[in-house]
Symmetry: C2
Subunit: 143 residues, 2 copies
Amino acid sequence: MNNKSLELIEQELTDLIRRIVISEKRNDSLERSGYILLRLLLSHGPAGVKQLAEKLQLDISTISRQAAALEAKKYVERVPNPADKRSYYYTITDKGIKELEENKQRRFDRLERIMESWSEEEQYNFGKLLKKYNEHVKENPKR
Amino acid sequence: MNNKSLELIEQELTDLIRRIVISEKRNDSLERSGYILLRLLLSHGPAGVKQLAEKLQLDISTISRQAAALEAKKYVERVPNPADKRSYYYTITDKGIKELEENKQRRFDRLERIMESWSEEEQYNFGKLLKKYNEHVKENPKR
DNA sequence: AAAAAAGGTTGTATAATACAATTACATTAT
DNA sequence: ATAATGTAATTGTATTATACAACCTTTTTT
């Protein structure tokens, strides 16, 4: 692999992550973790902490606490599973959906302001390459 | 801005950050913060915590602790500033440079494995677009 | 039925972070 | 030239994200 591209990508990815994480802390009412969890619950439907933890590659205890925090804010509901009394399903509430959508919109707005001067093609390519990157990571899950 | 691209970018950026942060935790001996700080000290030369905090848009106290942790590991040295007895310069040590380079190489290796099948052009474009993104964020620092 | 496995929660610990208080020195204003 | 103000840095305290280990309860396996 071309070493210049590699260096550039490494450097810019590191910076980009730092910037975005900082920006989110400053701007979003929902924490990163909560946002991702709500988004997952909305897109994949109700799920227990184990499944959620697997999807996100996080420890079950981490999800357990995050879900409990979202439940306390009434963004999700914990529904007992009648078929297995050990387990629960978390489902996103209407309030949770509303909060998620508001956060998503703020994220969109920020992105839009940052990339407003980009050409359609650049925007399209950026999305496509980010997606490609993620797909390749999924194929190499230990990386 | 095209809404499809926007959605895609938002979604993929969120995922990408999550993945990379997790991967770093699993793989790197140096923490993210330490890595970034060492990299900055190497590229910009000795600096005090205030300057470092400004560059990284972090609180001075955060940098103070990170620098102290790096100092404890002998990756940096704290040199008093003779012109101002309140302040210090942190400089990266040879040991710090070695540790930084080893970490960087591991990061490169991971990236390379993920993107080994990409065309030269895709790699080049990805780097270029990431850089462009970062440059545009810098122009909108409050975002 | 006893043993093992599985879903979840809770205790404890660490890292990154911010804000507030504090210390020690430097600069400015009277 | 001294008092007031400002500045560089550290330290106390708090929060969030995270993991691992211990544990409880229920289910599955032997």
